[in-house]
Amino acid sequence: MTPVTATRALLEVKSLAKSFGLGPLHQQVLENCSFQLQPERLTVLIGPSGCGKSTVVNILAGYEAPDAGEVRLLGEPVSGPSADRLVVFQETALFPWMTTYQNVIYGPLVQRNKVRKDIEADAVALLEHVGLKDFKDKYPRQLSGGMQRRAELARAIINSPKLMILDEPFRGLDAMTRELMQEYFLKLYEGRKLSVFFVTSEIEEAIFLADQLLIMSNRPGQIIKTINVNLPRPRTADVLTSNEYLRYKDESLEVLHGEALKAFAGGSKAAADFLEAYADQKQN
C-alpha cells in the first residue's frame, strides 16, 4: 500500500513579504503572510479591500516575486507563470480575436502535448458543461458578462491545473448572474475535484463556496484567522439559510469587524462604511 499523503499540503506559503514604492511612498503590502492549501479543497481568501489580496494572487501565479518568504507547489518552489497555476481575473482576459471555442482550446494547443482530436473533444464537453455550447463560435464581445466568465473558467479548467486561482472572478456581475455563476462554479468544482484558491471581498460568497476560509488583515496583510467550513456538499443555495451558515458568517464578520476598527483608527473611509453596515446587521 502507498503511504497516505492526504495530509501533505498542495501549496505552502511561508512568511511572504512584499512592499511597493520608496521613501514616503513606501507601502508594506504583505508581512509574514503564511498559509497552506490542501489538494481538492476550495480555499477562500477574504479581507478588507486594499489589504494585498491581489498581491498574493500575483505571487502565487508567478507574475511577481516576493521580497521575502517562499511559495512551494507540491514541495517545488514556484518561479514564474505556469499552466500548473492558472488565474481567472476579475476582468475578462479572453482573447478578443478568438471565438469562445478557440479561447478554450488555446492552452492545450500551445502546450502541444495532446492530440488535436482529444483537445477538441475536451473543449466541446467543457463548453456543454458550462452552458456555452451554442456560443462556441461567438467572439467574447458578443457574450454577456456571465458567459465571458464561464468561458474563462472553461479555458482554465481544460488545462487541469494543479491549482486554480480566481481573483474576485464574479465581481462586477449583477446579483442574479453572480449567484448563478457561484452555482455553476460549485458544480464544476465538486464534479472535477479541482484544487481552488478563490479570492473575494464578499463574505456570503466566501462561506457559500469555501471548505477553508482564510481571513486577511489590513496592510501589511497576513492571515489572522483560518476557519474550516464544514457545510455539506454538494452545496446548494439552501445552505444560505441554515444556522451553521449563519454561525460561520458571524464568526468571520467578527474578525473582519475587528480589522475594520483598526483600519478606521488608521483613517480608512471604506472601513467606516463596513462598520456602519455591521452595526445595522447586528440590530436585525
Binding site: A83, F95, W97, G107, V110, P140
Partner: protein, 261 residues
C-alpha cells in the same frame, strides 16, 4: 438574426441612395453654376462638356495605360511600405533597444514631405519609375510604422500574462497574440497610407512622370484641353475611392471579431 439582416440590408440600400443623391446633387450644382456664370465655377468645364469629351478618351488605350501605370506604382509603393513597415513597427514594439535606436531618425525623416524627396530620389535611383515608387513608399511607410508600433505597444498586459500562464512559447505569443492584437492598427495604417500614396503618386507624376493619371492631368493642362483635366481629376478620385474601399473590405474580413453582433 433575420431581422438584423433585413435592417442591415435596408441600411446598405439607404446608404447607397443617399450617396448617389449627394454625388448627383454636386454635379447638378456644378452644371448650373457654369451656365449661370457663378464666380470660379464659370471657368470650369461643366459636367455635360466633360461627358461630351469622354468618347474621345474612353476609346483611347493611352488613357487606360495611364490608369494602369498609376495603379501599379501605387500598389508597388504601398506593398513595399507594408512589407517593410509592418515588421519594423513590430520589431520596435517588441524590443526597447530597437525602439530607442530607430525612433529618433524616424521622427526626423517623417516630417519631410514625400515630394521633397523627389530630386534626391531621381538622382539616387537608376530609373524614373523606381524613384516614383520610392517616393510613394516613403509616403506610406511612416504612417504604417507608427500605427503598428502604437497598436502593438497598446496590447493589454493581462492578455500577454494569460497567454504566458497557458504555457505559450515566444512564437505563440507573437503569432497568436501580438499579431492579431495589432491587426486593427495595421489596417488603420493601411487605410491612411493608401490615401497618402494617391496624393504622392499624382504629384510625383506631374513632376517626373511620362505616364499615369497625374501626368495625364498635367499634360491636359499644358495642352489646353480643359475637359480632359476634369476627367483626369475624376479618375484620380475614383481610383483612390476604389483603393480605400478595397482596404476597408479587407479590413472588415480580416478582423471579424470587431464586428458588432
Amino acid at each position: 438574426m433575420a431581422a438584423a439582416a433585413v435592417l442591415r440590408k435596408n441600411g446598405t440600400a439607404l446608404r447607397l441612395r443617399r450617396g448617389l443623391v449627394s454625388v448627383i446633387g454636386l454635379l447638378v450644382f456644378w452644371e448650373i453654376g457654369r451656365r449661370l456664370h457663378f464666380p470660379f465655377l464659370s471657368a470650369v468645364p461643366a459636367p455635360t462638356e466633360v461627358i461630351g469629351s469622354l468618347d474621345k478618351i474612353v476609346g483611347n488605350s493611352k488613357f487606360w495605360n495611364d490608369w494602369i501605370s498609376s495603379f501599379s506604382r501605387v500598389l508597388s509603393g504601398f506593398a513595399l511600405a507594408q512589407l517593410i513597415g509592418i515588421p519594423v513597427g513590430l520589431l520596435m514594439a517588441m524590443s526597447r533597444t530597437l525602439r530607442y535606436l530607430w525612433f529618433p531618425p524616424l521622427e526626423i525623416l517623417r516630417p519631410i514631405p514625400p515630394l521633397a524627396w523627389v530630386p534626391t530620389s531621381i538622382i539616387f535611383w537608376p530609373t524614373t519609375e523606381l524613384s516614383i515608387i520610392f517616393v510613394i513608399f516613403l509616403g506610406a511607410f511612416f504612417t504604417v510604422v507608427l500605427n503598428v508600433l502604437g497598436g502593438a505597444r497598446a496590447i493589454d498586459e493581462r492578455l500577454i500574462r494569460a497567454a504566458r500562464s497557458f504555457g505559450s512559447k515566444p512564437r505563440d505569443i507573437f503569432w497568436r497574440i501580438v499579431l492579431p492584437a495589432t491587426l486593427p492598427s495595421i489596417i488603420t495604417g493601411m487605410a491612411v497610407g493608401m490615401g497618402v500614396t494617391w496624393e504622392v503618386v499624382v504629384a510625383a507624376e506631374m513632376i517626373a512622370g511620362k505616364s499615369g493619371l497625374g501626368y495625364f492631368t498635367w499634360a491636359s493642362y499644358v495642352g489646353g484641353n480643359y475637359p480632359q483635366i476634369i476627367i483626369g481629376m475624376a479618375s484620380i478620385g475614383i481610383a483612390g475611392y476604389v483603393s480605400s474601399g478595397a482596404i476597408r473590405f479587407l479590413g472588415k474580413h480580416a478582423t471579424p471579431w470587431q464586428q458588432r453582433i
